[in-house]
């Protein structure tokens, strides 16, 4: 089985794709910072940032629909976390409900905060999706390293990317083997089997980790991680990064 869903579209060619990964990483970070630092309720600023990002997505040739679809993945988590804010925030009551034994009331401040959290999270995720859709994982890792992220962390990320597919394959084979031997087992028994599968996936991954480490030792690994640098920070990167930064500030200030 072959998967490449992590950095789909990263092999397209566009102006954005050709930028140095470091430029993109820093720009993405600046974008997220700008969004996080915007006070709640400034919808025009959020709209401005959204338009900026939309322009980038169009330049990058990544299908807009794909980015929007991917961004939905994060929403359940955000909503789950922020769903209860309107009920617990003090303030002017917008509505009151009787739920069995409790009386709960929703406040306007609470609703504003909910809207704020969801919007900010969604915009940040859009930015990150654009980053991962325009930068291959290898380049992204190189960029992280170039920005001074500790090599051990970069190495762990690269192992994760390398073996996630292997683990997914193993899980799939185990599932197939399970389904071909279980017929009609429903409910609790199935959950028990699922537990076993997860357990043995863990053991297998652990053992693979040991074997990979041995393979690293065999090629002279002594705990130091060495890499060759092959990133080039060009003039275009400088101007683009600068322009993006200015646009962010201008949007933030003028639409305040």
């Amino acid at each position: 089985m072959r998967y490449s869903f992590l950095d789909q579209f990263s092999d397209l060619d566009s102006f954005i794709h050709r930028l140095d990964p470091r430029t993109k990483l820093v720009s993405c970070l600046a974008f997220i910072l700008a969004i996080v630092l915007t006070p709640p309720g400034r919808w025009q600023v959020f709209l401005g940032y959204f338009s900026l990002l939309l322009i980038l997505i169009i330049i990058s040739k990544v299908p807009v629909f794909y980015v929007l679809k991917r961004s939905l993945v994060i929403l359940p988590f955000v909503v789950l976390v922020s769903l209860f804010i309107p009920f617990f925030k003090e303030g002017e009551v917008a509505g009151s409900y009787n739920l069995w034994l409790w009386q709960v009331s929703v406040t306007y401040t609470g609703l504003a905060i909910l809207g704020n959290v969801v919007t900010k999270a969604w915009l940040c995720v859009l930015g990150l999706i654009l980053l991962s859709a325009t930068t291959g994982i290898t380049d992204l890792l190189k960029g992280l390293e170039g920005l001074g992220i500790p090599r051990v962390i970069v190495l762990i990320l690269s192992f994760m990317y390398r073996y996630i597919f292997v683990v997914v394959d193993e899980a799939m084979w185990m599932r197939q083997a399970w389904h071909s031997r279980s017929f009609g087992n429903k409910g609790l028994r199935q959950i028990k089997t699922l537990g076993n599968i997860i357990g043995s996936l863990f053991v297998r991954s652990y053992e693979r980790g040991e074997r990979v480490y041995v393979a690293m030792l065999a090629r002279g690994f002594d705990g130091k991680v060495r890499t060759l640098h092959s990133l080039t920070f060009r003039k275009a990167d400088f101007y683009c990064g600068g322009l993006w930064f200015i646009l962010l500030v201008v949007t933030g200030v003028f639409l305040w």
Binding site: R2, S4, I137, T138, L141, S158, F159, Y161, R162, Y163, F165, V166, R208, R211, V212, V214, A215, M216, L217, A218, R219, G220, F221, D222, K224, R226, T227, L228
Partner: protein, 259 residues
């Protein structure tokens, strides 16, 4: 180089007396025993000498201790007695040099290829050896050329076929220019065509080779000398032709089907 008369079972006497004397020992193992932490004794009193330039097959059934023996050749496992590689005892202070001289190719390429791209995997060894960037790039290009995989530098390993993965796995140690190539089950999981291509590739590599396998077809083609191991004990050591024609020996050690 020690000037001693050596007995070599693979027929150096037949070549010439001088050459036999000049042959340097690539591997010296004397009375090596090894037990895993769980108490299972994997190797019992193994004594084995392999000379530079030889291609030796280590054959035996599943669980005979072949892989365990191979892991002793670059100091990943260490048993009760000291193994000598090119005259160097396998000890902590020699490990780096020994791992440079002994290229170990594991059975499962998925374990050997752990980097995001082929280039980084092949460059891993040379980089750990501390070569300059220019030399690392040269070595990677050369190693990939040897295994016929030039142009695969930017590919990611999980998109390759098993045969391609095996070739890259071999390239990852060739880039360190080892004097001794140690392969664990090089032909497992390969279809006949990939197996044929791999056999041809191995035949053209000039360094000494130790191949652990129960693929007797491969052994017959590549290795003039064969060592049979079963239950952690050396059962036979000699010319491949005579060992492979000893049907009862093969049957006894799980290398031929029971009839």
């Amino acid at each position: 180089m020690r000037r001693t008369l050596v007995y070599s079972p693979c027929g150096y006497w037949g070549i010439s007396m001088v050459e036999a004397i000049e042959k340097a020992k690539a591997i010296e193992i004397e009375n090596l025993s090894f037990s895993y932490p769980d108490g299972h004794q994997a190797l019992k009193n193994i004594t084995l000498t392999i000379y530079l330039g030889e291609t030796v097959a280590i054959v035996g059934p599943n669980g005979a201790g072949k892989s365990t023996l191979l892991l002793h050749l670059n100091g990943i496992l260490r048993g009760n007695s000291v193994v000598k590689i090119m005259g160097l005892p396998v000890e902590e202070k020699n490990l780096k040099e020994i791992r440079c001289k002994v290229g170990l190719v594991f059975q499962e390429p998925e374990d050997q290829l752990f980097s995001p791209t082929v280039f980084e995997d092949v460059a891993f060894g040379p980089m750990n050896m501390g070569y300059s960037e220019v030399e690392v790039r040269e070595r990677v290009a050369q190693a990939l050329k040897w295994v016929g995989m030039s142009g695969y530098e930017g590919r990611s390993s999980h998109h390759l076929s098993v045969g391609e993965k095996k070739r890259i796995a071999i390239a990852t140690v060739l880039s360190m220019s080892p004097e001794l190539l140690v392969l664990d089950e090089p032909t497992s999981n390969l279809d006949p065509r990939s197996k044929g291509a791999l056999t041809k590739l191995l035949k053209h590599l000039p360094m000494s080779k130790i191949i652990a396998s129960h693929d007797l077809e491969l052994v017959r083609v590549l290795c003039p000398r064969t060592v049979v191991i079963d239950g952690g004990v050396t059962m036979a050591d000699g010319e491949t032709t005579s060992i492979l024609s000893d049907y009862s020996l093969l049957k006894e050690h799980g290398l031929a089907p029971e009839d």
